[in-house]
Symmetry: C2
């Protein structure tokens, strides 16, 4: 990397950190309607920041959902165009009582920033914004043409950005896309992501009697929707981790020998790391599948929340009329969530105990994606990482889902570079989410270097 760029980023570390903190203070929780104004404030923050960097065209696009922030700076017809995507919305912060410091009052210790959104995704978006600014301020201009698309609904289904990509795909014309919303294997072994699972997120609602009942008067003959929901969920997935939904294992993704080799080499270390991060003594799930496979390419079924009856202090002998669970499936690339939703609905109807009604609602879904590791943009990313980290990255899968990746792939037909700087213990979506300061600064260097390598 050019010395001037590098020096600029070193000189401005404190400024960039301060700016990130001011963004993290805005509780832009997209799924909670009471935070609507905060989400907009976070969008306006990004709009202002892009203007400050010098983007000549910056737009806040408002529709039915949360706004999109779009910016472009087309500097040279002879250079390629990079589309950068990120999101400024965050997950809800509950359970609040498990945070050691308030989620929207960022706390910094010597190694990390603790705040909701620190790694997912404001911290990683800030890396790119800082790298863009460094080019402008130290070199006078961006090395390639850049389009920026930031959304505020990534954690809430992403309807607005999907509609925008489908309708205004031509505005987004680019040669490649960059997304920084994933994590690396480790600081010592950086990685690039070439596969993401898709997701189907549903609510299952079970109803029994028309009203809550007293267990003393009705226990023994009354439908109990909580118990029925437990029976259902235990039938959809067993203790062995196998999902019992016909059709669910039909799709699979090809894995290269190189990748399998890495899985094999890394298996013991990964298991050790996972056990430590989770604080448990054994992994659960499908014993016959490798740990990398279970995390990266196998379908999963997880219950994210369950609710029913009396959950306050003490005792109440009620048999509730209704119970609800939030259940998602992570799906390999090639598996279509809309198809899987039908398979799930059918399996639920089949497996539901008698005497209840059940409804399955599709809250949101996104296709999985597998990107080719063979193109100049991914090569540039790999070289930038090797330059800054001193180690060539391995190609990996990530179990999480970034639905926009599949859209870019299918609508814009451009290669997507998934270069993330999170670490596996960042705790995205959980309490005490953090982002490593070291990764924050190394990420800026890497992205700045990457941008330079894209020039013809």
């Amino acid at each position: 990397m050019r010395t001037s760029l590098h020096q600029y980023l070193i000189d401005n570390r404190e400024k960039n950190l301060e700016e990130l903190l001011s963004w993290l203070k805005i509780p832009s929780i997209s799924t909670l309607s009471e935070h609507r104004k905060d989400v907009k404030n976070a969008a306006e923050w990004a709009e202002k920041k892009l203007q400050e960097i010098g983007f000549p065209e910056v737009e806040l696009i408002e529709g039915e959902g949360h706004p999109l922030v779009y910016a472009q700076w087309l500097t040279d017809n002879n250079q390629p165009t990079l589309l950068f995507y990120g999101h400024y919305d965050v997950q809800p912060a509950d359970p609040l009582n498990e945070w050691h410091t308030p989620p929207f009052q960022p706390y910094i210790d010597k190694d990390n920033i603790y705040a909701r959104g620190a790694t997912d995704d404001k911290g990683q978006v800030m890396i790119v914004l800082a790298a863009l600014e460094a080019w402008v301020k130290s070199e006078g201009k961006l090395p390639v043409n850049v389009k920026v698309l930031l959304e505020g609904e990534e954690e809430a289904g992403g309807a607005s950005v999907e509609a925008f990509v489908r309708e205004y795909g031509d505005r987004l014309t680019a040669d490649a896309a960059l997304i920084c919303d994933t994590h690396m294997n480790s600081v010592d072994q950086p990685s690039l992501i070439i596969g993401l699972r898709g997701i189907l997120y549903t609510e299952i609602i079970v109803k029994g009697a028309k009203r809550d009942l007293h267990s003393g008067s009705y226990g023994g003959v009354a439908p109990n929707p909580i118990h029925a929901l437990c029976l259902l969920l235990s039938r959809l997935k067993g203790e062995n981790g196998r999902i019992d939904i016909p059709g669910i294992y039909v799709s699979s993704v090809p894995v290269s020998d190189e990748e399998k080799d890495f899985w094999h080499r890394d298996a013991e270390a990964l298991e050790k790391r996972l056990l430590k991060e989770m604080g448990v003594e054994q992994l659960v799930g499908e014993k016959h599948v490798s740990v990398h496979g279970r995390l990266g390419i196998r379908p999963t079924l997880e219950v994210h929340g369950i609710r029913g009856g009396f959950i306050g202090e003490g005792a109440k002998t009620v048999i509730p009329a209704e119970a609800l669970a939030k259940v998602s499936l992570r799906l390999p690339a090639g598996s279509r969530p809309t198809e899987v939703f039908k398979q799930l609905e059918h399996a639920v109807q089949q497996k539901m105990p008698k005497g209840y009604t059940v409804v399955v609602r599709n809250l949101h879904s996104g296709d999985g994606v597998a990107v080719s590791p063979e193109n100049r943009y991914i090569n540039a990313a790999a070289e930038a990482i090797a330059e800054i980290y001193g180690v060539r990255p391995v190609f990996m899968r990530e179990g999480g889902s970034i639905p926009i990746t599949a859209l870019f792939d299918s609508i814009l037909h451009i290669p997507v570079v998934l270069m993330g700087f999170g670490l596996s213990d960042d705790g995205a979506h959980g309490p005490n989410e953090k982002f490593s300061l070291n990764q924050f600064y190394k990420g800026m260097d890497t992205v700045a270097d990457f941008l330079g390598r894209l020039r013809n």
Copy 2:
């Protein structure tokens, strides 16, 4: 019944109703600590009422829990002594949004009073207080010696009253006890209760990882305590209603031929009524056991509440660190809850999926009871009911639990008359709890008549 008594009760219907309404307005929810003051207010209400009736000795007994209200009026050494027990605390009112009118603003339509506590138990205690007052005001004195013991923790385990009965049993010396906290078969077929199930109320807490996890990063290998809890609960009781806890079916209670005959005659009507009250098309549970048996003497296992993970609006892809269920067992007389707790704990440890820790907490318990239908006090109750309702009552079991009954039986060694005036659709413990005005007034007549029949 004496005309003067009857007339007094007719003349004072409005006054008695007004008094009940003022008591129902006090949200004396014993399980919620923020209602501690309200519970005390409800106790003071009862204290004042007993003084107004003319009881010469009235005492508010305060200890660690909610207060007891104790009163006695010993009028004649040659007459028997009746101990009346009731409770002034109520169940929590949630789910609040299912109430058609606010739970603590009593609402009266032409047939019913709607309020939390209307039938369980303030309305039924008021019946007895009104009958006692009628005797004093129209006849100049009570027909027999009366002791009154009201507690404020019936819905919360009843620790204070249990300690009091165990320690001061001699103050409670009596010839029989009266409890009005049950319901009748129907207005056309009144009933007296000769058996109550015991109860064991527990919390089961399952823990997985040390913190909440993101399903994208850990799904497939991470312990999911919600799913494990579902597996556990589905293993403790199957869809067929059978409880899989070794030892649980060892105790059983003898049922007389007369009772079995009634079960047989009443089976179809009961099933029809239950289906209508619950608004369902089929009963669940043990198909090979009669409906009366399932409701009255078989053990039950019910999940009253379940909580885990994200249950807010929208989607959050979290795998929570912990999940919790509130689970009770109703137990036949003869089955000891403390024994059953050990059996449950053992079964939970056996059935728990691997990779989790689980804790079972005993929140409260009470023995079941079977009372003999052959004594002059129950006979007097049966005659009073026959007099007022024009039909002789049948003897029945109630599935609910009134732990004090077992204490009176085992510590005081006195027969317990369980004469309740609730109806099966009153919805005790649920939203829109109600009490029939007709039963409220008929109940006063019946108790007043009953008191007269107790004299030597």
